[in-house]
């Protein structure tokens, strides 16, 4: 009987140890959203607060309006540069614009600093801007959808410190309407009628998952050759193809966001948080370099 008593004690011990304690989790985080584009003026910064999962999402209601924001070039740890100051837009709560027309330098590292005195919080995040690149050539500029010939784009290589370049390809339909939808996307969107174009909103710019530079052929002159798949085109007609070389922050955000609810080796119902590079808060402060072309896609 002593053995069975021991067994019973062990069962209770295991069952007790199996009770998990709830992990500590802050629900009042500040969310930041800002992007820098190589060679372009500094962009807006958006600030808001987390919203409860059962709450109605309303950016304006959750906007953070009393922040002091600046972006610094911290590429050189010794030489300090003048920070880019930001100011809140009067009629757009939570949106801040730069008080400078300075342009973003490729391969520079910038730090975003957000002070919220009322909350006693400071958020920081750094991004290193990918190196600039350009389209050398592309052909043809007009294709028949799913015809024999696909669009080939030749681009110079972008540079990113410490790793190969990572691209996201975006396709923007320049005449986006329901009759112009390609067959696959027409079935995906399932428009109620040919006039209800609100349903197209999510598909106006179609984006690829992150793709490594090594996935593409390197031509003898060192440029990359990119073949545009038919899957990229949501609309017939004129399309803008945008090649975006993205920084580490955007890359981590995109790749972790796309597996939040499936599409990975995680079990269904396991939802990992996105990879976060904002100290003291959440969100994304990313950068990218972009090059683009325009093509025409004809109906077959």
């Amino acid at each position: 009987m002593r053995m069975y008593r021991l067994a019973a004690v062990l069962f209770v011990a295991v069952a007790t140890a199996a009770c998990d304690s709830e992990p500590i989790f802050e629900e009042d985080e500040i969310v930041v959203e800002a992007y820098l584009v190589a060679g372009e003026p500094f962009g807006e910064v958006r600030l808001s607060r987390l919203v409860g999962i059962n709450e109605l999402y309303d950016f304006t209601a959750k906007a953070v309006t009393d922040a002091v924001i600046e972006i610094r070039d911290v590429s050189d740890p010794v030489e300090q540069t003048e920070p880019i100051p930001y100011r809140g837009v009067t009629n757009l709560p939570g949106v801040y614009q730069p008080l400078s027309t300075e342009r973003v330098r490729p391969l520079a590292t910038y730090e975003l600093v957000v002070d919220i005195p009322a909350a006693g919080k400071t958020l920081r995040s750094r991004t290193t801007v990918p190196g600039d690149f350009r389209v050398v050539s592309f052909a043809p500029d007009t294709v028949v959808y799913q015809g024999r010939e696909q669009i080939e784009v030749q681009v110079t290589r972008s540079v990113y410190p410490g790793r190969q370049s990572i691209f996201v390809f975006s396709t923007q339909g320049l005449d986006p309407n329901i009759p112009n939808l390609t067959p696959f996307y027409r079935e995906v969107i399932e428009p109620d009628n040919d006039e209800d174009e609100d349903e197209l909103e999510e598909f106006l710019i179609n984006e690829s998952p992150p793709l490594n530079e090594e996935a593409y052929d390197v031509l003898p002159d060192g440029t990359l050759s990119v073949t545009v798949p038919w899957l990229a085109f949501v609309f017939y007609g004129p399309n803008r193809l945008m090649m975006n070389a993205i920084d580490e922050n955007l890359f981590d955000f995109v790749r972790s966001h796309q597996v939040q609810q499936g599409g990975s080796t995680l079990a269904p119902g396991e939802i990992p948080n996105v990879i976060n590079h904002v100290d003291g808060g959440l969100g994304v402060f990313g950068s990218y370099a972009r090059s683009q072309i325009e093509v025409e896609v004809l109906r077959p």
Binding site: Y57, E202, E214, P229, L231, P272
Partner: protein
Amino acid sequence: MLRFLTTSLFVAAVTWAPIAVAQTSASVSGFVRDARSGETLLLANVLIKDTSTGTATNNAGYYTLTNLDAGSYTLRFSYIGYDESEKTVELSAGERLRLDVDLVPEDFVVGEVVVTARAEVDEEIRSLGVAQLKTDLVRSIPAILEADVFRSLQLLPGVKAASDYSSGLYVRGGSPDQTLILLDRTTVYNPSHFFGFFSTFNPDAVKDVRLYKGGYPAEYGGRLGAVVDIYNKDGNRNETRGRLSVGLLASRGIVEGPYKYGSWMFAVRRSTLEPLLSVLRGQEVEGIPDSFYFVDTNGKINVDVSDNDRVSVSFYAGQDALLLPFLEDASVDLEYGNRTVSLNWTHIFSDRLFSNFTATSSRYFSRPIIEIAGTPISRSNNVYDQSVKGDFEFIAGSNHELSGGFWSGLFTFRLRDEFDGEESLFKRIQSPYSALYIQDTFRPDPHWKITAGLRANYFSEGSYVRFEPRFSVDRILGSDARVQVGYGRYYQFLTLITNELFTGSDIWLTTDTGVPPSYGDQFVAGLKSSLTKDVRLDFEVYYRSMRDLFELDPRLADASGLEYADLFRFGKGFAYGAETYLEKPTGRLNGFASYTVGVTRRRFPDFPNAGEERFYPPKYDRTHDLNVVANYRLSKRWTLTGVFAAATGQAYTRPRSQYRILDNPLGSEVKNVLVSPFNADRLPPYHRLDIGASLFGRFFGFADYELQLQVLNVYNRRNIWFYFFEFEDDNTVKRTEVPMLPVPIPNISFTLNF
């Protein structure tokens, strides 16, 4: 490698030879077989009557009793589901008696629940962490569409299922890749049909299923957690017999019989969904595939070369195929399957030295092609494993049984991805591997059994050499109980990339430079007792660690140009628990109940959050897990069966907060972000009752029939598989329940035995 083995065996032989030579003791050895079919019986009990001295047959059905003084002995042979047999022998000094014994199957056992041998204190089957599954049980348990070996294993303590849709084995906190699956001594890499719904093993073709849940002996290796060792039938050695089953999803048949030199067996199973699919397509039901089937075949030929030599060739071939158009301008075309073949030679050198040699070849392939909007995305994934292995059992001295062996092979993995007609990834890994083991089982007296072993592993990819000590002690307490403790270290050189939703494109990857093998220690203790002659109660506790776990990084976006080690995330984990198993294997009312309380945790640096180092429960973790299986023989013609399962809800991630990326610079889609503590919540408790009835009779005088009527999820429990969170246009978040078996599901099958 072979030199090491030869040297080891030589040293062992020299060490023990003086004892062996000096003695004039007698011995008895032989095969234990089914009298009706001639099939050898694995782990059958052999006991000298009125003593505690005994042994069990090995994986070939062979036993040896040595160091017997001259005299008269009555040997009792027993195996569950068979009448006991007693043989009285007279042994003279030094005599080596060969005694093959045939056991007669009990007539009434058709359809009964018989899981393990009956309550006797010397049964090998009651070794630490071992469970044996009889195919009668597999066929009798209510099953979703098709009787399944793995789904029956999931009812045993310490074994969990990921969901109602999965036949994957999660043994004592281990993921399915931590369980080595052997069919006729050959590794099977993806043993699933129907995208994981059930396993590839045809219950009609299977003779013996043994599960080593943990602390498994040195004979096995290569996996952190467990071993499923499956043996197909040899084929009836006395008469030609057959069985034909027609079910809702599939039909299967087996024929077996003798021939001049031995026996043969051939079994086939194929899905029979085509008529149903055709009707559904005719009614223009969405999502119906153009083509879908699975098929598997098993075969074996045995050659009884002599009393001491048996040769067999066995094969398995299985395949799933699906062609599914979806939406406009999109389709999935998938084929995956396994092929195995093994050549086995059993040679009995003497009454003291038994050997078995096997040459194996295993192949797994998967070829998914998805075409979306004129853009083909394809993968060709192949695993090849060719190996040779040898196992020796040597009775050394009066109390020692020495075993040793080798396993050497070549593992090849080839993966080729294409996107839009261009190769986007090519990876080929070819790695020779070898393992040697030696083990001594020491029985100082009939009440003690001490086993110590060592396994050495070499894996070429990364040049890893690892040693695995194994140790166990078994102490018989009186006539109805035994206490056991065990320890083992285990290494694993492979990892499986899979998804619970879909196992049709599983990929195995290996260690390499920068990717060391996973390893873990297992500590196990058990108390086995017989409450009455017909009721046994087993209790086991376990603790196991898992270190250097390597898994494909779930956030990996594109593997192009990355270093091999960059494909993985590395972590660790642990599991512990207590299991109890109450069984009544015979009688009009028979069955078993298993209950497990257990904890499984894993941790990966920076997952789920940067800088976070939290152990979390994987989805398959369940604190409490109860299964009850009962059979009641209503009459000679009717048998009722019931299976009840209850468990703690699985771990899941309940989002607490949300935010949105409104100015997505890469596309027009707003990025809706969930913020959640990872797997910190539990789904509602799981419970389900399945019932069945079987009617037995004669079919027009030429065959026995069995009609099975079953209903799964009888009381319509809506168990939750997972929740999906959708962001609505009105800026709310809607939670959608994705259920397991959502309604009561009937099943019917009809079987003829002829």
